[in-house]
Subunit: 342 residues, 2 copies
């Protein structure tokens, strides 16, 4: 996301080691601090700045308030064949999600596909992290989380749905297809960023006070009526993802999650991994994906020489640049992280 804020570039290794010190200070064991630091640093490295170090101060505050227990680890609750229920025990959400996807991958290697339903967890930071995790292991994956209620269902004006990010990941040579999308067209963070820059949204993003669709971010902030993707469709999809995650995990649905972001705990998540190589050869699988990518790129672009892109396509270029030139971070976020790493 673009920003007017002062930026700087930090070498990846410095970003990671700084995060690691901050996590140690918050009480994580060395091994868990290192993993958490890597996942967060990789998020900024890949250009998803809303969900990297920007979120660490909130995480620290949640640890301080006791809503996240830095010592809690995910535990198996029950299992049946290729599906398992786990609880996150309200520990760090990224570590629980990483463990859950790892376990789903193990199950998929045994059974062709496998799922972990995780209850009582906390914010997993970047959703796409767990898609990359699977795709980098040669697995396809689908995962999603519910959230606090922040989106009115279609036909209503008060929030009753989460924006419930959904991830689909497909391995493909060195450039996987990774889709990471929330059920609202724009997050509140994105609305705020547009407002601060004095810009209109590129497409309608919600409703104004008169109930009309608008591209004015401030109007949507005032009504708290952001638009679900596809209007009634995203509303329905958000609801179905929420209920399925809660039912399979034995956990909470959106309306049972505290509405204060600093207390957004008790989330329900699903991690589904599928092993394409249990059914086809890598050559065959790659050829299918490459053919589809080529056809996508062959569509006539609106802007000459800017072909349509597949989900995740831009990530590798951003990643390469971050590793070469340093990871771009907001100056303010960096200073806050340094404070936590002291």
């Amino acid at each position: 996301m673009r920003s007017n804020k002062p930026m700087r570039r930090i070498p990846f290794s410095e970003l990671q080691s700084t995060l690691e010190r901050a996590m140690l200070n918050l009480g994580l064991t060395p091994e868990r601090a290192a993993l958490s630091a890597r996942l967060t640093a990789e998020t900024d490295r890949d250009g998803v700045r809303t969900h990297g170090i920007a979120r660490v101060p909130r995480f620290a505050e949640m640890v301080r308030l006791g809503s996240v227990n830095p010592h809690a680890t995910p535990k198996l609750v029950s299992s049946f064949g290729a599906i398992e229920r786990w609880t996150g025990n309200r520990g760090p959400g990224n570590l629980a999600a990483y463990a859950a996807m790892n376990r789903a991958i193990e199950l998929a290697k045994l059974h062709g596909l496998g799922a972990v339903a995780l209850a009582e967890t906390t914010h997993w930071q970047r959703a796409g992290t767990y898609g990359w995790q699977a795709a980098d292991s040669g697995l396809a994956a689908m995962c999603w989380t519910n959230t606090l209620a922040n989106l009115p269902p279609w036909g209503a004006t008060t929030p009753a749905l989460g924006n419930n990010p959904l991830v689909l990941a497909i391995p493909h040579q060195h450039s996987p297809i990774v889709l990471d999308m929330a059920m609202s067209q724009f997050s509140y963070g994105t609305l705020a960023a547009y407002r601060e820059r004095g810009e209109q949204l590129p497409v309608p993003g919600g409703y104004d006070e008169s109930g009309a669709l608008t591209t004015d971010p401030a109007a949507i902030e005032r009504t708290t009526r952001p638009l679900p993707i596809g209007f009634w469709k995203g509303s329905g999809l958000s609801f179905a993802l929420d209920v399925l995650a809660a039912m399979l995990s034995g956990g909470r649905t959106a309306h049972q999650i505290p509405s204060d972001p600093i207390q957004e705990v008790g989330l329900s998540q699903i991690f589904l991994a599928i092993s394409p190589t249990s059914l086809g050869t890598i050559t065959e699988l790659n050829a299918i994906a490459t053919g589809a990518i080529d056809a996508l790129h062959a569509a006539t672009p609106i802007t000459p020489n800017r072909p349509a892109r597949y989900p995740g396509e831009a990530t590798l270029a951003t990643r390469k640049e971050s590793l070469h030139l340093g990871v771009p971070v907001d100056e303010t976020h960096w200073q806050r992280l340094l404070d936590l790493a002291k």
Copy 2:
């Protein structure tokens, strides 16, 4: 969908037996003709008139032209644990899809979850059919199909994506949650219906000749630029669903499917079933879904006394009315069906 066309109501049993005669005339065996007739009659019974008897003349034409083989049955290609590859052998798509979901349900009962990836199939008619099939058996399900390319990817003006309907189904007492949504905001059939009535779309549905978002259905028909749900998000989701279905089934992606609807064959589909009762009791599972439904209904409605609805909520009322008063059908569609049933 509303229509200005003359309608009549046909008793469900008469609709079903008429369909059965038509399918026998097209060469289906008695058992397969009966199943096909039931699935199609249930589609009209549930009010999804675009995908019920309205589609039978096209199916008959595809059989006549040889693009659908009425005698072909789905066959297992390979399997690994809880996932299987099948081919539809270009037989009737609804029968292949029904068999695939049945097999996914069997796998889920054995393994907690199960999947069938189906290649070389033909149009499955109503997507939601296979969601209801799973939910009525107490299983949760996710299934999707690719289609011919009929949707420009985000950033392009020519079709390279299918509208790839996606279904999520969750069992819940006698009233399952069943979401059935295509990746375009409106189908071409819906655009035509609005144009014929001289109405504007309720929300923007695509682009006009100047490249601006429009609610004018005729303008979208002219540009063939319908809107993916959530703009870039639905574009990415459509692409990922397409590639995943083709990779797992070893089948075709959208760009390899003939662009003439009468030759839309060789589709790839995924049927994933999950057994919630392998992890929780029915009482617990129902309580979770009921709680979420109650919270949805409690959101402040835009129109007083018209609460937000969950996906599938309206279906049971429509079904009951159809069974009581007869199934509403277009007079023209009914006459065409009678011709095929002679």
